[in-house]
């Protein structure tokens, strides 16, 4: 295993997953340059990351023998130039990802691993947008990234084996376990999970069962540790809708067409945990 000091991570996008992955890396001694277009977002992100690191310490999931990495935030993509690995964690919208990945691939040197934390867009589609398609690999981090050990790693048809190896190596340094799969819209987890959450919301919309009962059945009868609607709140309902749209456009599966209740919550700004309210009310947002 490479030493944690050998890695310099650049993360693009300071939202839910960007801050999660930053906290995971910093807590494992890896320094991070976090880039976003908005200084206000970065200011909030610094506080969020601090809280996530406290949460990770509270839960005892960080190695005790490593000093915390250094966090640098920036609104300039040029600051990713020295990174050994770049993680793209921006909104799940083709145009946004294309713009960011294309620009990032022009800034870094050949041999820099490019990771997309895409939820649903196939790696091979995104590989068309970058200078060296073979440098791109998908890594689907979970939320909270520092609590969940397993990650879904996606090998695109053009991903260089050495790039895949480097990504898995980094994940090992970050204390994660990788399960590698081939490319497909939604990959394994979200192709299964997103229609499930959408259908759970439809059941509530139709009045078949309440939010608590739908989650209670999946938790109590099927042993899910977190029910689908609470999971949706954790993902962020606007992100969920974006991902469902990606799946629906590519697969035409009706269970992936975002239901009215989901769209209504997004319209009303009830996006889940991060806004304090989604399917559930969280009171003051704490982590």
């Amino acid at each position: 295993m490479t030493a944690f000091e050998d890695h310099r991570l650049a993360i693009i996008g300071a939202g839910v997953m960007g801050t999660n992955i930053s906290a995971l890396a910093l807590g494992h001694g890896v320094s991070v340059v976090l880039v976003d277009v908005d200084e206000t977002v970065l200011e909030t992100a610094r506080q969020t990351i601090k809280q996530k690191l406290r949460h990770a310490q509270l839960m005892g999931v960080l190695p005790a023998d490593r000093p915390q990495g250094t966090l640098t935030t920036s609104v300039s993509l040029d600051d990713i130039a020295d990174a050994t690995t770049v993680v793209e964690a921006v909104t799940e919208v083709d145009k946004v990802k294309q713009e960011v990945l294309s620009a990032a691939s022009r800034v870094v040197s050949p041999g820099t691993t490019l990771i997309s934390n895409t939820s649903c867009i196939p790696i091979n589609e995104m590989a068309d947008w970058i200078v060296r398609p073979e440098d791109l690999v998908g890594v689907h981090f979970m939320n909270p990234s520092y609590m969940i050990k397993m990650v879904e790693v996606i090998r695109g048809p053009r991903t260089e084996p050495a790039v895949l190896e480097q990504a898995v190596e980094l994940l090992t340094v970050l204390g994660r376990e990788s399960l590698v799969i081939d490319d497909s819209a939604g990959f394994v987890i979200n192709r299964l999970l997103h229609p499930l959450i959408n259908t759970a919301a439809m059941l509530v919309q139709e009045g078949v069962a309440s939010v608590e009962v739908v989650d209670g059945l999946l938790e109590g009868c099927l042993g899910h540790s977190t029910g689908p609607l609470r999971t949706g709140d954790l993902i962020g309902l606007e992100n969920l809708v974006d991902s469902l749209n990606v799946l629906y456009e590519r697969r035409g599966d009706e269970s992936c067409r975002p239901c009215d209740l989901l769209l209504e919550k997004v319209r009303d700004g009830h996006l889940g945990r991060k806004t304090g309210r989604g399917f559930y009310d969280y009171g003051k947002v704490a982590s």
């Binding site: 949460h55 310490q57 509270l58 839960m59 969280y282 003051k284 704490a286 982590s287």
Partner: protein, 96 residues
């Protein structure tokens, strides 16, 4: 937010009552004073951080370093002991 009046003496009993009140309101379940909230599954690991932030804000304390560990938040009794100890430390520092 401060839920505890400044003039009322802070005792283990009042603290436990206040923490129980917060828990009942947030998780809609009655819990025992010595019940392990995490082992019994009544609260999640995500809620643990909300407990930390609530105690810090309600009692004007900072829970840091070695104190920031899950064992301190497992039971209502454990949380009230932590708050009393940290309040005592704060007052001692303030009187120094």
């Amino acid at each position: 937010m401060t839920v505890h009046g400044d003039n009322t003496p802070l005792t283990a009993e009042t603290l436990q009552k206040e923490i129980l009140g917060f828990l009942t309101e947030r998780i809609k379940t009655d819990v025992e004073l010595d019940q392990d909230l995490f082992a019994s599954g009544v609260v999640s690991s995500m809620f643990a951080m909300q407990l930390v932030v609530h105690l810090e804000e309600a009692y004007d304390i900072a829970i840091v370093g070695a104190d920031l560990k899950l064992d301190n938040f497992r039971t209502v009794v454990g949380m009230s002991s932590l708050v009393l100890r940290l309040k005592g430390d704060t007052e001692a520092a303030g009187n120094a």
